[in-house]
Symmetry: C2
């Protein structure tokens, strides 16, 4: 134990603790993991973590922020692929789904409804905003390319919430008896994009009689 803690040492300890905490959270659920258990996994005393984190809530917030960042990085990587707007958009959608299926515990933590006021953790706010932001770019591109019509911000929230809804229903165990989640997702996207295409102005293709019948309010 050095006399004074190098800033690097602090960062290292925090990182290692967060990694351990995330693993334990995934294994036994957040409520089932105690500070003492985390400390034990770190090989330190029960209260040493309090030198690096204010309390358990801050640990949880940091784990969630890390998950959001990992998620955002994954999505951004998918969007960075080269290809047509449609291909890139499909890649983003696939990356979203794959992340949720590959790291269900991380996804659960990220979007848990029981978290009261995340706003106290700037890093969590930043990571969450980054994750949200990187889901609108591909929609904006689709609109710019004239493949769908509508307000990109609104459309991206529509696509996002539809996808999110299927993911969380599955992660909550509520899609055990109905259609396969993948089928629901595919059909949702098919219908949404068909619907959004219907809003396009008349175009080159011959049989474009689809006038704006969207007057259902």
């Amino acid at each position: 134990m050095p006399k004074v803690l190098d800033e690097e040492d602090v960062a290292d300890f925090r990182e290692r603790l967060l990694a351990a905490a995330e693993r334990l959270f995934a294994e036994q659920g957040v409520a089932g993991v105690s500070m003492r258990r985390i400390a034990q996994a770190m090989g330190c005393s029960a209260t040493t973590p309090y030198r690096y984190f204010a309390d358990k809530e801050e640990i949880l917030a940091s784990v969630r922020a890390a998950a959001f960042d990992r998620f955002a990085t994954t999505i951004e990587a998918a969007f960075a692929r080269r290809g047509s707007p449609v291909e890139r958009s499909a890649a983003v959608g696939r990356a979203y789904w794959d992340f949720a299926m590959r790291e269900p515990d991380a996804y659960r933590l990220m979007f848990d409804m029981a978290q009261p006021d995340d706003d106290r953790y700037p890093d969590l706010v930043r990571a969450g905003a980054r994750a949200r932001g990187c889901m609108t770019a591909h929609i904006r591109e689709l609109v710019s390319a004239g493949r769908i019509a509508g307000d990109p911000d609104l459309l991206s929230h529509v696509i996002w919430s539809a996808t999110h809804g299927i993911v969380v229903l599955k992660l909550a165990g509520r899609l055990k008896h109905g259609p396969a989640p993948e089928d629901i997702l595919r059909e949702s996207m098919r219908l949404l994009f068909n619907g959004a295409r219907a809003g396009l102005p008349p175009r080159a293709p011959a049989q474009a009689s689809a006038e704006a019948t969207g007057s259902q309010t």
Copy 2:
């Protein structure tokens, strides 16, 4: 304290405790409510609830089952309204949204992702199944009436998950900066129904040039 507990007395005690527990859960979150706190609200000793419930988890499961039943009753009432299939379907959708906004804590409890194995509580399974079931009837009716095309079971899951996604994002506090949740919901339904209508076979109305373009898949 009677010598033996009438079955009615047991049911009464359970009901009163569940009501108190639900109120406390809503006020302070599930994790913030202790058995002792519930017992205090009941005016009994700390361990008396254990005569009526196996443990805290069973209390939570019962509260969740009650919420599902209340939800299902609300939806069924909306569907029981007289009117056209479209009107009845719209009423169901509105009732769904209104319930989630009126009882966000109940909704949170119902669809919380952190619940591991609900299957141990038959009443909860039954109530959950009932709630899910009453969301397909109005879709089935729409399909029967020829207003939309597709597999009713699949379509109902599409509509459900889209609605659910918006609700849980709002309840998780993730829709503070974007479009209003109501707008996302309206646009989602507009696009989905437009998309689903596109799958209809050619019909009476004059400008029905929409030949079966639904040849995808």
